[in-house]
Symmetry: C2
Subunit: 333 residues, 2 copies
């Protein structure tokens, strides 16, 4: 039924070893033999059993991707880019979604390791599970949110700068009452403060709403700032969850995006591109992150194969501002 090395060997009249060498591009095979073997292997439809090979070579050509969810469009893009990139190097991805649950994350690592994945790309990473990665020595790369004691290289976003550029844009368009709605993240908050300071706008606690990374935060934030006597003319949403609920909430409360209130969001999605007015966002260049993640992980894997152990480095990628139509110039009143 299944065509293995032995079948090819018999059909070509050489030994299994020779077939193995011929097919894996070893120089220790005569060109003639190689050609013949390759031909026969192809005609028989031979496909190497990656599992058997892996048992011997101690590598599975499998990479684990461990992420909190697949709802955020950035993660979807990331998966797509990582899959394409890793395939070029002969790796397939085993995807594991953790729902931001530490236990599920740890379980993912254990299962993945049981399947002998050669390395993992992780977004999230709680302390327990990171500890597991460290002790097992499984090559790893952390994306977006680095744990305190990382198990491998960390690739992060320049959150300060991405927020700062968004707020600066709003300030340049004449906005001075700029609301800030986000999950709890000090760096993003810093970016907001810095940009305000640069624009000479006083910080006003009333315009800020910080909660969890969920839709409730978006609703509560919008409700809070719109109830103000001196409501904002612009709103900055720091993450997917907040804008997903926050923008509709603005509408529901009778505000028209653009005309009544300018908006900048972080984390792009197809919807934001399509909506009218289309929404201005800052978004991460997922392709760059993916590329970096791939090269760092492959590096870590080869270092480990060689028996080495590296210090974990840090790489920061900046987000770029994509100007669309949700920010309008505020006429001097």
């Amino acid at each position: 039924m299944t065509v293995d090395l032995r079948a090819v060997a018999e059909a070509s009249g050489v030994s299994i070893s020779t077939v193995s060498r011929a097919l894996s591009g070893s120089p220790r095979v005569s060109p003639t033999t190689r050609q013949r073997v390759e031909k026969i292997a192809a005609s028989l439809g031979y496909r190497p059993n990656v599992v058997a090979r892996g048992l011997r070579t101690r590598q599975s050509n499998l990479i684990g991707l461990v992420i909190p969810n697949l709802v955020s469009f950035t993660f979807v893009q990331l998966f797509s880019d990582l899959q394409r990139g890793f395939r070029e190097h002969g790796y397939e991805i085993v995807l594991s979604v953790t729902n931001s649950d530490p236990e599920q994350e740890l379980a993912s690592f254990q299962t993945l390791r049981g399947h002998q994945v050669d390395g993992v790309v992780v977004i999230g990473s709680y302390e327990v599970s990171t500890e597991y990665l460290r002790t097992t020595g499984l090559p790893a790369v952390h994306l977006f949110r680095p744990p305190e004691r990382p198990a491998g290289d960390c690739i992060t976003i320049d959150d300060v700068e991405s927020t700062r550029s968004s707020i600066r844009l709003l300030a340049e368009k004449g906005h001075r009452r700029i609301a800030f709605i986000n999950g709890r993240d000090p760096e993003t908050m810093d970016g907001y403060r810095v940009a305000l300071a640069e624009a000479g706008i006083p910080f006003d606690d009333e315009l800020v709403h910080v909660g969890g990374y969920n839709t409730d935060t978006g609703i509560a934030g919008v409700d809070k700032v719109l109830a103000l006597d001196d409501p904002p003319t612009a709103v900055y949403f720091g993450c997917y969850e907040t804008w997903l609920s926050g923008i509709p909430r603005l509408q529901e409360l009778g505000r028209t995006v653009g005309d009544d209130v300018s908006i900048v969001c972080r984390d792009d999605a197809p919807m934001l591109r399509w909506w009218r007015p289309s929404i201005t966002v800052t978004d991460v260049e997922v392709g760059r992150i993916a590329g970096l993640a791939i090269s760092r992980l492959l590096d870590a894997i080869s270092v480990r194969t060689a028996g080495g152990r590296t210090e974990s480095g840090r790489y920061q990628v900046s987000a770029k501002l994509i100007e669309r139509d949700s920010v309008v110039e505020l006429s001097a009143s």
Copy 2:
């Protein structure tokens, strides 16, 4: 470094075979030995090497999931449900996205088979690649769009009925000019026709726009029907791609969803739930599909393990109407 059976055996003072039996719940081990071995294995942090086991037992405990994209929210949910379900049975998912490209699909199957996946769940399936599945005998289940000559059980949606119920809802609310925008799919079209007939509404070709499964179709469709002398009071969008672009287009052309034009969409997404007014949809019960897919595939796998071969059956799942706020009663004029 890595704890294998031998390590556990040495630590427990029994043979490898005994440890294997003890740990895999074989009855041919004394309770005493079993307990001791289990304890030692746990203390050593033993984790079976799934790869080695797979080589021996000819099963990888890996399932391939082959889908066109991860953009459609239905697919994301599906992955999530399948992952949860398969894990309960000890399987992990290797995800492969094809971008609706026949070549990528075929390549996915080949790669997946190289990794010895025990079976595949497929959405899409072109003829060439399905042929590959059939000839290799890889257990498979087709979801949503069955190929002409399937390689395994097919689980489909009752497209006629889902569309029919949507149109019926609109008709009941007094709409008689109901536009239909969708990709090319005869069954959905049938549902539209049937529902119109049932409501005594004449079919009007001008209200229909059928194109590819892409955002262009949404735009073109909306443009076409709004340009009519007697424009529709309601629009039915048959798929994600059309509503994603179509709803914003309606807005752009000055129509307010609900007030000016009622809407029903197929394929739910978080956005539709959040938007104001929230959008009425028909959506598939992904959980049921996933459950069915899992049981059918597991069945096919065990049949194949037993050396058998089954006829491929068909299962149809109905979509349900989720009424929200985008459909308004049309006052008799």
